[in-house]
Amino acid sequence: MKKDKTNRTKRIMAIDDEEDFLKLVKLNLELNGRFKVFTLSGAEDIISHIYDFKPDLILMDLLMPGIKGLDACGMLKKDPRIKNIPIIVLSALDKDIDKHRAYEVGVVDFLSKPITAEELIDRIEKALAS
């Protein structure tokens, strides 16, 4: 995906096993008016969904049933058409080792739950701007 610095609506893909969390993140981001959010409750078939949705940024949970977030990130980073999409980890984990691993895989930011909508939007915008 090409980087786009225009003010058009940004497409955010959020993957998390917590349906409630996804629902509220979607509400908060879309309420802001600058984001279009697509949610996935698991990392299965993530690549085809990315092809379909074409997100500008991916919010990735780490601890999920089935495919783990870091593994999914690794998969995405191997796909040349996807690898440039910035990934932000948004997880309940916050240990240094988790952060270290995540950055090694190539994520741009690591956010720990709980997080306010303001901070989330702030970090997403920073990631998109870089």
Binding site: E18, F21, V25, N28, K95, K113, T116, A117
Partner: protein, 650 residues
């Protein structure tokens, strides 16, 4: 000796025998000589009288004597008949030989005075005549004529030599018989001496010898004879038996004496060499009568200083009095066994020492004495105290360990549930965020306030979870040599805005050229931020925050820095000191002891979980460091962190 005795007896016997024999010989020889000559003289007289009778018969025929012819033949026949007769003759009173057995002699005149005197005597008489050097015994019988006139004398003679010869023969014979008899007698004497005297004596001697040389008192003579020697032997045997009995009892006595001496010596050796102090005192008066070298060492007094003194000299005044001594004594009498008293003694230079005394009652030469064995238990007591202290410390450490384990378990649990809790918190916060936007348009300030409350409490819950997880993180430190000044700077940077808000003045006193120290930078930052935040929160307005860092040589680890301080730091070791001092409200002495306890807080529920200092201490502990807090209410608080300066870090 025995032979000597026999020889002596025999010699004496032989001597006596020979003496007797000699005397007897002399006596018997004289006797025999006399008797024999008497017999010969008597016989001579008889023969002479026969000759006189023959002549008288002729004379009675009226023949004149001088006319007789052939009377020589009569004389001659007598000499022939009696061989021992040398001559027979008739002589007239003038001494003229009228008839002679040797006719040649007829007509010769006898001139010898003794012979003439005898011839002229009217009595029968004898005389000894010498003729041609030989001596002759002559018997003279007067011859009367029929008228009774003395006219001549018949003379019969025999040689004196005859008597000597006979005597000699007899003596020789007697001597021979005597010698043989002596010989037999001596043999018998020897035999009987052996049988009755020497053999029993030898037995006696042997027995004596055996007793004397070998000391065998069972030796017996066993002589059954009833004589004096037998009696002697049996007396000896009885005596030996008595001696044996006496000796046995003396031996037993000696053995007893030796054993007693040995026992005494053994006691003395034990007494003198005993490691424990031993005092012996008169049981009645309590006056010391003996003590061993260990005792003098124990009380630091020489023996002469102790002997004769009352035993109370050993004890601190008022500690053991005479009464207690007596009590021990009485109890000992009734129970018949020693009892141990724990008490104190006092040395010459006034040092009081703890002792255990085992007292026992003895009797020495009829005097009842109390023997006290003193064992110095001062060190033991001290060791016991130390042990008790160590045990108490161990117990405390154990309690802490248990608590730490519990906390660790809580931490583990927290770590496990953190994710589960954080997710709902995340949802709540997202929900709040949404509602805030929604409320904003509706202008409802109360709802906004409620949402703020929810939001702050989500953060509070999140902080608790975070702190719990931090606390449980006992994982490996990422140790790297760090410049502590820059760590302090970066930590200050993290709290910069809060410092500015509170208008606090930072005063840094950092030693120049500080060596690098081996630490986990993030953790130490966490510690410093924690300490800075605590300091900031304690200062309500315009406080001062002193931050110091320097190296120092630890002389003695300060009291209160940490219980295991001795283990962590050695005196003389150089360490890095970081001090964070504020001018805040301070902490009460009561609370000061608990500030490092988990979940202890003075700030109220809004400001934290009470885990900050517990985590801080944990991190410092993981660095093998120490943390200490000093505080005074209203004056401020000083936190001192001591970190090891490892060689690699220098």
């Amino acid at each position: 000796m025995l032979i000597n005795l026999r020889t002596k007896v025999i010699s004496i016997t032989v001597g006596i025998l020979f003496l007797a024999m000699g005397v007897l010989t002399i006596l018997s020889t004289n006797l025999f000589k006399r008797e024999y000559s008497k017999v010969l003289i008597e016989n001579g007289f008889v023969i002479g009288r026969n000759l006189e009778i023959q002549l008288d018969r002729l004379l009675r025929l009226g023949i004149y004597i001088k006319d007789l012819i052939g009377f020589d033949e009569q004389c001659k026949s007598i000499v022939e008949e009696y061989s021992y007769i040398s001559y027979a003759m008739i002589a007239d009173l003038d001494g003229i030989i009228l008839f002679h057995s040797d006719p040649i002699q007829r007509g010769k005149t006898i001139t010898e005075e003794a012979a003439l005197k005898a011839i002229r005597s009217v009595e029968e008489s004898v005389y000894i005549s010498s003729l041609d050097d030989d001596k002759y015994q002559s018997m003279v019988i007067p011859i009367l004529n029929p008228y009774g006139e003395h006219i001549a004398a018949a003379i019969i003679g025999f040689p004196m030599e005859l008597i000597v010869e006979a005597t000699t023969r007899l003596v020789n014979y007697s001597i021979w018989i005597a010698l043989v008899s002596f010989g037999i007698a001596i043999l018998f004497l020897v035999f009987s001496l052996s049988l009755w005297v020497t053999n029993p004596l030898r037995k006696l001697m042997d027995a004596i010898q055996e007793i004397r040389e070998k000391g065998v008192l069972t030796a017996r003579v066993n002589v059954k004879s009833r004589d004096e020697i037998g009696q002697l032997a049996s007396t000896f045997d009885n005596m030996t038996e008595e001696l044996q009995k006496t000796t046995t009892s003396i031996d037993n006595l000696n053995r007893e004496v030796v054993e007693r001496k040995k026992a005494e010596e053994k006691y003395r050796i034990q007494f003198e060499g005993a490691l424990d102090a031993i005092f012996v005192a008169d049981a009645e008066t309590g006056i010391l009568i003996d003590c061993n070298p260990a005792a003098t060492i124990l009380v630091g007094r020489e023996k002469p200083e102790l002997i004769g003194k009352h035993q109370s000299i050993l004890h601190p005044p008022g500690r053991i009095i005479e009464g207690e001594f007596t009590k021990t004594f009485k109890e000992h009498l009734s129970k018949k066994k020693g009892q141990t008293i724990e008490t104190q003694i006092i040395t010459k230079n006034g040092e009081v020492r703890e002792v255990a005394i085992k007292a026992s009652l003895l009797e020495i030469e009829g005097i009842k004495v109390m023997q006290g064995i003193f064992r110095d238990v001062t060190e033991q007591k001290r060791a016991e105290h130390r042990l008790q202290a160590a045990y108490a410390q161990l117990k405390e450490t154990q309690d802490q360990l248990i608590q730490a384990e519990k906390l660790n378990a809580v931490g583990q649990l927290a770590s496990g549930v953190a994710h589960e809790v954080k997710n709902p918190l995340g949802i709540i916060l997202q929900g709040v965020s949404f509602l805030e936007k929604d409320v904003e348009s509706k202008k409802a300030p109360e709802t906004k306030d409620v949402l703020d409350t929810i939001k702050s409490n989500v953060h509070r819950a999140d902080n608790i979870i975070r702190a719990l997880v931090d606390f449980s993180r006992a994982g490996k430190l990422i140790l790297e040599p760090q410049d502590i000044s820059s760590v302090i700077e970066s930590s200050l940077f993290l709290v910069d805005h809060k410092i500015k808000i509170a208008n606090i003045k930072i005063i840094k006193e950092l030693q120049k050229d500080l060596p690098k120290v081996l630490i986990d930078k993030n953790r130490i930052e966490q510690v410093l931020v924690n300490l800075f935040l605590n300091a900031i929160q304690s200062m309500t307005k315009e406080g001062k925050l002193f931050i110091r860092a320097y190296t120092t040589q630890l002389n003695m680890v300060k009291k209160g820095i940490g219980r295991r301080s001795e283990d962590i730091f050695r005196p003389g070791e150089t360490a890095m000191i970081i001090e964070v001092e504020d001018t805040g409200i301070g902490i009460s002495e009561k609370d000061l002891n608990r500030v490092f306890d988990p979940f202890f807080t003075t700030k109220g529920p809004r400001h934290g979980a009470g885990l900050g200092l517990a985590v801080t201490k944990n991190i410092i502990g993981m660095h093998s460091g120490l943390i200490e807090m000093q505080s005074k209410l209203g004056k401020g608080t000083k936190v001192i962190v001591i970190l090891k300066l490892k060689k690699e870090a220098a």
